[in-house]
């Protein structure tokens, strides 16, 4: 049964008056349906502790670019260099200042500052590392947020609620990986092809990669992983038989700034 907006608002309004709230309206209009909708999808991908392995041997530049595009397209990440209307043109300096990125490329010395050394393999310096939120085990951003707008799920995914965020940007100061972006202005005029199934953002809130929590819930792999030709792998770190554990067992991996104690959960095979 479907509920008309009008019916819902009317009954929700009355039931709120009597201190019952909107849930009561659902119960009156469509008994049982709300619980059914809240139950997890049986096909959902689950893990005790999500982690990602980036295999730099398999990640060429085109693949990396494809991952970025897939991520930014489905999440409605604005591109300030490419406005919907030409009159919204933004100068390069402001594009840089306002940039929003969930997944992006960076050279070795910028991705791993302090770990670069002279005379290291030339190959390393040519690589473009794919960076994203590290979904830390001990996330500094969660620690500092004054409204719990950013929090860590049981399965390790560090989430961001753009409707709770007050825009204080404390999490941006706390994140040692520069993984968070802020909406310095309205992003909507810079989204060429809007994905109607994912919300766009408004001015004044922080956003970041959420490991495609919305896709995991539907049983799909994160968008970047899906298009990475096997260069990116997600899986359960607590499951000894998982693909990520297999990769971690068989290869030497590095992580970004592990000495800071945030315990990042994105591993790089170099």
């Amino acid at each position: 049964m479907s509920i008309s907006r009008r019916d819902f608002l009317r009954i929700a309004g009355f039931s709120t008056l009597f201190g019952l709230g909107a849930k009561a309206a659902f119960e009156m209009l469509a008994p049982g349906e709300l619980e059914a909708k809240l139950a997890p999808n049986p096909k959902a991908l689950t893990a005790q502790r999500w982690a990602m392995v980036v295999d730099m041997r398999k990640l060429d530049d085109q693949t990396a670019q494809r991952c970025i595009e897939a991520c930014h397209r489905i999440h409605n990440v604005p591109d300030f260099g490419n406005p919907v209307n030409p009159e919204d043109q933004v100068n390069p300096q402001d594009q840089n200042r306002w940039e929003i990125k969930w997944l992006w490329k960076e050279k070795f010395e910028h991705a791993f500052p302090g770990q670069e050394q002279p005379y290291v393999a030339e190959r390393l310096h040519k690589l473009n590392f794919l960076l994203l939120c590290n979904h830390c085990n001990n996330p500094p951003c969660v620690r500092v947020c004054p409204t719990k707008a950013t929090w860590k799920r049981e399965d390790g995914v560090v989430m961001m609620d753009q409707h709770r965020c007050i825009g204080c940007r404390y999490c941006m100061a706390a994140c040692p990986y520069g993984a968070r972006s802020f909406n310095w202005r309205n992003p909507r005029p810079f989204i060429k092809n809007e994905n109607q199934t994912y919300p766009t953002r408004e001015i004044g809130v922080v956003e970041k990669c959420t490991l495609c929590a919305e896709r995991l819930a539907k049983g799909q792999l994160p968008a970047c992983v899906e298009v990475s030709n096997g260069a990116l792998t997600v899986g359960d770190l607590n499951d000894a038989k998982s693909k990520v554990r297999e990769l971690l067992r068989a290869n030497f991996t590095i992580r970004r700034k592990p000495q800071l104690g945030s315990n990042p959960q994105v591993y790089y095979i170099v």
Partner: protein, 385 residues
């Protein structure tokens, strides 16, 4: 008692009118900011806090320094400060109000401000900052107003206000300590990751606040019939001297740790601020003026003849206010973000709209200060007459 703030000379109304004009301009531009977003400021993905938060940080110090008047008065029974305690407390009220306003104008979603109360988060230092700031505002209003009212009625202050006065004494350093902890506990920001952040904050606060108070006392003496007193100003001058000396010492402690250890993550921020990195260093001249000026002023203030002459004292206090402002209001916040976590450099400079909003908030503070001082001075003049 408040009616005294509403009657005054033409010059008094002129000052209020000018401040209201600045507030109006600031407010108008703030509406623009609400509409366009914080993109009208110079802040960026890399330098995500700027001028607003820097002013807040500086003014927390000014607010905290009221304790430098209240503490000698109530804990050491230094009676001379009874004459100016109210000036310190009202300065704190104005400064804390500015602090709170600077936080509000810095929010991306000010309409959701109350989320901080709706979802209290004790693990966030910002939560505690909100508590100590609002608490301190209330304490200073209660203590200042009640004691002044008693003074006006020429009766001793009511007994119930005593506990508030004693609570306000440790509360003052707490506001600046908590503010220092906002920065000092963040991983990956080498410039801020130092245990001496809170002590440095307090030493510069106890220099800057009393220095500002010396200047305000001199102004009050010049433009009203109330004289805060030579002894009072001299004692404040001594407080400024010791505090600024300690502040310079703390700065060099920091320099030693950072440069003797040679750890790049900690050195690069100082290098950016004092020498520039990759050809970028717009703060370099400012930082040198700040530290050289601060050191020279500290040495200068030690000389008794300089301190005893009110003209040179005023000059030195002006320099203390300016050099500590550069240190906190410009260098501290930007220096913490540059270089960014990728070791690359995005510079920051406030934009014109940002500067006008900042000026507007300062004008709100000075409006409150002027009106409260008007009340205090009128009462003092009244009882003398």
């Amino acid at each position: 008692m408040f009616e005294k703030a509403l009657v005054g000379t033409k010059r008094y109304y002129g000052v209020l009118g000018f401040l209201l004009l600045l507030i109006g301009i600031g407010f108008f531009i703030y509406l623009k900011q609400l509409d366009f977003g914080l993109g009208i400021t110079g802040m960026s993905r890399d330098v995500s806090w700027g001028f607003y938060i820097a002013q807040f940080t500086y003014l927390v110090g000014v607010a905290a320094s009221a304790v430098m008047v209240v503490l000698p008065l109530y804990l050491h029974d230094y009676k001379a400060f009874g004459r100016i305690a109210i000036l310190g407390e009202f300065l704190a009220v104005a400064a804390v109000t500015m602090c709170i306003l600077f936080i509000v104008v810095d929010l991306g979603k000010p309409s959701r401000l109350f989320n901080v109360l709706l979802h209290p988060t004790p693990n966030s230092v910002l939560f505690w900052d909100m508590i100590v700031l609002n608490g301190y505002l209330l304490l200073n209003l209660i203590c200042g107003w009640t004691v002044l009212q008693a003074e006006r009625n020429e009766v001793p202050p009511p007994k119930w206000v005593k506990p508030f006065i004693y609570i306000a004494i440790p509360w003052a350093p707490s506001i600046h300590t908590v503010t220092a902890f906002l920065y000092a506990g963040l991983p990956g920001r080498g410039y801020w990751l130092t245990a001496i952040m809170a002590p440095r904050f307090l030493s510069s606060a106890f220099a800057a606040g009393p220095a500002l108070l010396v200047l305000l006392c001199l102004l009050v003496r010049k433009y009203t019939k109330f004289d805060p007193g030579r002894e009072q100003i001299q004692t404040l001058g001594k407080i400024v001297t010791y505090a600024i000396l300690i502040n310079v010492f703390f700065f060099f402690c920091e320099i030693f740790t950072v440069f003797y250890s040679q750890i790049p993550d900690h050195m690069m921020h100082f290098k950016y601020l004092f020498a520039g990195l990759e050809g970028k260093g717009q703060l370099v001249p400012w930082m040198w003026v700040s530290i050289v000026g601060m050191t020279l002023t500290a040495i200068f203030l030690v000389i008794p003849s300089v301190r005893k002459n009110e003209n040179t004292l005023a000059l030195a206090c002006g320099l203390v206010v300016i050099t500590t402002w550069i240190d906190k209001g410009l260098g501290l916040i930007t220096g913490g973000f540059v270089p960014n976590p990728f070791d690359t450099i995005t510079e920051y400079w406030p934009t014109i709209p940002e500067a006008f909003i900042t000026l507007g908030v300062w004008a709100v503070g000075f409006l409150i200060l002027t009106m409260l001082y008007k009340v205090a001075v009128s009462v003092k003049e009244e009882i003398r007459a």
